[in-house]
């Protein structure tokens, strides 16, 4: 890098990119920051599960079957949130369970967003048969109730983490695709797109370099909201008994398993339920903050 920078450019100005500004606005929003930190904490919890969990989440001990949380009669402080029907530590299982929820949430949304964005861009910008084809496919998939589609796919592919991710991605990409297409339809009429064409920019340049950066923030916002949905969807699948394989703990399957003991061992299904609620809530709050920060026209 020997090219001398001949024109001094003030760094303070450089970083005032629109994205940077939005991030700063986000950081200034205390409520959302707290939520984002909670989300991060959950992610850390998932990553550090082996070090955080007080017990082996798979270690069964039938003698501790349905042991109550620590503060209740029959509870024990080393099993803070009590034990499940096989005497496994609920806290440890929740900590490990976060791996499933977060992996699935992230993976599904990432893959779906990439696919959806590319297809949405193509449909919105190229129009014509590409658009008709993609839009019809979107219509067809939208006509399927989400859970039923996922359940049928799971029945087809069999259980397992990758298959859950696939089963959810199959329909999930529709959401970013629609958002992107809508945004592209608006953006392609903008004069800056015309300006790029006027100076001779090729199609791909316009799609990916001119339009994409401008529609990215709604996409990011929608993706985070969808992540919250996906986590609940995974939990619902697990609840219906077609989620991850045991003994892997998923919050949804923990609630489902615990449901049998609801009448008095309420802790078995209540705590994982609360875990879902909190993670999803934090993601939602954070995504609302993102939305406010990235798209001030939404800020109410």
């Amino acid at each position: 890098m020997s090219i001398a920078v001949r024109v001094p450019v003030m760094t303070a100005e450089r970083i005032e990119t629109p994205t940077w500004q939005s991030l700063r606005r986000f950081a200034a929003d205390r409520f959302s920051m707290v939520a984002a930190i909670v989300v991060l904490a959950f992610v850390l919890m998932a990553v550090l599960a082996p070090w955080l969990a007080p017990h082996d989440p798979y270690e069964t001990d039938l003698l501790r079957r349905l042991q109550a949380p620590a503060w209740m009669e029959g509870g024990e402080w080393s099993y803070l949130l009590g034990c499940d029907a096989l005497g496994r530590d609920i806290l440890s299982r929740i900590i490990y369970g976060s791996q499933v929820s977060i992996t699935i949430g992230l993976a599904v949304v990432l893959i779906a967003t990439v696919i959806g964005t590319v297809l949405g861009l193509a449909a919105g910008y190229m129009r014509g048969w590409v658009d008709i084809g993609i839009s019809r496919l979107v219509d067809i998939l939208l006509g399927f109730p989400y859970l039923i589609f996922a359940i049928a796919l799971m029945a087809m592919m069999g259980p397992g983490l990758q298959n859950i991710i696939l089963a959810l991605v199959y329909k999930e990409w529709v959401v970013p695709a629609r958002v992107v297409r809508g945004e592209v339809l608006a953006a392609r009429e903008m004069e800056y797109v015309e300006a790029a064409r006027a100076v001779g920019a090729p199609r791909l340049h316009i799609m990916f370099r001119e339009i994409l950066p401008n529609i990215l923030s709604p996409v990011i916002v929608v993706s985070t909201i969808r992540m919250a949905h996906v986590i609940i969807l995974e939990a619902s699948l697990s609840f219906l008994g077609i989620g991850v394989q045991p003994p892997t703990a998923s919050w949804g399957s923990m609630v489902a398993d615990g449901r049998a003991f609801i009448l008095d061992a309420w802790w078995v299904c209540t705590f994982p339920g609360i875990a879902i609620l909190f993670l999803v809530l934090s993601i939602n709050v954070a995504s609302q903050g993102l939305r406010d920060a990235f798209d001030p026209k939404f800020s109410d």
């Binding site: 450089r14 990119t17 629109p18 790029a196 064409r197 100076v199 950066p213």
Partner: protein, 330 residues
């Protein structure tokens, strides 16, 4: 203006039709496609070094004409000849190369700059696309261009939202001019700006034209602005050019009733004797269903039966201008 010299741009019978509601399913379910003839067989030419002003009411097809001439929208029929070369059907690749010579400045300085790109990227983009300059050179050329439109090199890393409207328009001008074009379309370059800033931009465009020997197609709906920048003026009404002629002549003695109404309706700041107001009644007809015959007949105070039936063609009248009107001397 030397009449013998061949024009830089020559447009013949240019037509642009937008098909609304033409989706497959709309066609099944709804009425036949709506055809909007935004530009209706328009012919004119622009000589090298001159400014042709184009004026007309909102929606009459000025922008469409501008974009079609540059083939940003594909023309429906007619021909466009640029510098002696028919570009109507030029293949994409060659058209791209030709874009170096014909550029456009847009109306809305807010919408025409990509908000996610820095000034350097925006102004430098044409250079890198056309592989005109080395990477290292690009910055120098961008800086030079910025300076000639009145911006500073310290603005390079800034983003559009950090500029005022007038400054943004300067960026747009810099982008259009960095490829050294010979022909520039200015599509209402000042109408989104404040009066005091409008004057700055008009002055800038004027001095750039002189320095770089540019040819302008200058669009505005402000006849005061058009009058000041143009050598010749064309007046559009609902997709037609109804009158075209040297600026002074046209402003002093407008021939077409519409031009006269237009001129008389412009509020004047000067006390002096007023032009007699040609009062129009009624509203602009919908471009989807333009009236038959002379499109202006629904509002024309002088319309006669013939106007309702026969479409007048542009023809020479006294002086150098041309008028599309059946009335001999309205």
């Amino acid at each position: 203006m030397n009449e013998t010299q061949s024009p830089l741009l020559d447009v013949r019978n240019l037509e642009k039709v937008y098909h609304l509601n033409s989706g497959l399913l709309q066609r099944i379910a709804r009425q036949p496609a709506l055809n909007l003839r935004a530009v209706d067989k328009v012919s004119f030419s622009v000589n090298a070094g001159e400014t042709l002003g184009l004026i007309g009411e909102s929606g009459c097809g000025k922008s469409t004409l501008a974009r079609t001439v540059l083939r940003l929208h594909e023309p429906t029929s007619g021909s466009i000849t640029f510098d002696g070369r028919d570009i109507t059907k030029l293949p994409h690749r060659e058209m791209t190369a030709l874009r170096r010579r014909m550029q456009i400045i847009f109306q809305d300085p807010y919408a025409s700059l990509n908000p996610r790109k820095s000034v350097e990227e925006i102004v430098g983009l044409p250079l890198s696309l056309h592989r005109i300059a080395q990477r290292s050179e690009i910055r120098d050329r961008v800086v030079a261009m910025l300076e000639s439109v009145g911006l500073k090199s310290s603005h390079l890393g800034r983003f559009p939202h950090q500029f005022s409207g007038g400054q943004r328009q300067r960026i747009g001008i810099a982008r259009a001019l960095i490829l050294n074009p010979s022909f520039v379309v200015c599509d209402e370059p000042v109408s989104a700006l404040d009066v005091s800033v409008q004057a700055q931009i008009i002055a800038l465009l004027g001095s750039l034209k002189r320095e770089l020997g540019l040819t302008y197609l200058f669009i505005s709906h402000d006849i005061g602005v058009i009058g000041h920048v143009s050598d010749r003026i064309a007046v559009m009404y609902l997709g037609d050019i109804v009158e075209i002629g040297p600026a002074r002549e046209l402003l002093r003695a407008p021939q077409h009733p519409y031009t006269r109404a237009l001129l008389s309706a412009v509020p004047q700041i000067d006390a002096g004797p007023k032009r007699e107001r040609v009062k129009l009644s009624g509203d602009l007809p919908s471009p989807l269903a333009p009236p038959p015959g002379c499109k202006f007949h629904t509002r024309c105070p002088f319309a006669v039966e013939r106007c309702r039936q026969e479409t007048p063609a542009l023809r020479k009248v006294a002086g150098q201008g041309m008028v599309a009107c059946h009335l001999e001397q309205a």
